[in-house]
Symmetry: C2
Subunit: 192 residues, 2 copies
Amino acid sequence: MKLLEDRILKDGKVLEGNILRVDSFVNHMMDTVLMDELAKEMYNRYKDCKVTKVLTVEASGIGFAYAVARLFACPMVFAKKSRSSNVQGDVYTSPVDSFTHGKTYNIIVSKDYITKDDSVLVIDDFLALGNALKGLISILEQAGASLVGAGTIIEKGYQKGGDGLREKGVRVESLAIIDEMDGKNIKFRPEN
Amino acid sequence: MKLLEDRILKDGKVLEGNILRVDSFVNHMMDTVLMDELAKEMYNRYKDCKVTKVLTVEASGIGFAYAVARLFACPMVFAKKSRSSNVQGDVYTSPVDSFTHGKTYNIIVSKDYITKDDSVLVIDDFLALGNALKGLISILEQAGASLVGAGTIIEKGYQKGGDGLREKGVRVESLAIIDEMDGKNIKFRPEN
């Protein structure tokens, strides 16, 4: 999506270790005008699917997930993170390795809020190795819910998480896919 | 706000220890249709103020803060939580005692995203003792930014955090204020 690619080139910062920081418009500070446009685009890509719920994981996915869910006029559920392995209660849970933080945490969703009757669009802000999405998809499997697909704002194509999911038959829509990032040189994957 | 009060009476659950759970429509699962209505009401209460940014704290405040900020067409900034007292970098930080979790954590905002030129509306989902709001207000003071006011979805009036802030001259708007909660009997403060 050109609007997003242009903004990444303008305001994104590539830090040492090939880390892309988009804190000034995607996370930490969200540009709500841009985010509403991104949400419209995501809605358009999935509007012909029956979506009964949008699922994300706290914290930085929540804003975009809300913006998408409101266009479907459906509820938005966010998985909670817990560092404790001792998760109790009537919940679905899945371990997720965090690339950014170098830790493993559990994501948790109450059994009340995702059920076998749901058709779920899974949303996150970033897609790198795909661990968060895999954890969310595992929760849908535990619930017996249908996975409509996944949607992310920025995919780091070179980390292969998105393509790995696509090879398994998961529909993954990312609004900008970065295939190469070398210092300040960012190369986006052409859109189909 | 009657729409919200009715929904709390219908779907809220009062648990032992006078805990109100609204997980099925405010946090964990958000009813985006309701949330958009609540955001419109909050926007109407503050629309005559110059609001340049909406500030909240992760995680459960983010959805509502986004819904409000998009109506002002302004950025939404969320403070991050850290359990480490060793916070580094160019940030503002403030300690917050969590009533719900019985812990103290630091909230952190990058100095880049709140400045002395900002007029900020502080948003959260719940207001009990007011500790999170006080932490966010402290960050505005550190930044030299102007505080327009605070806005929350549900205020537990009997815990006095909101009234304490009002006595200090802070404008606090809550869409439902619970003045008494005894088992299943919830008594709302009449609106002015």
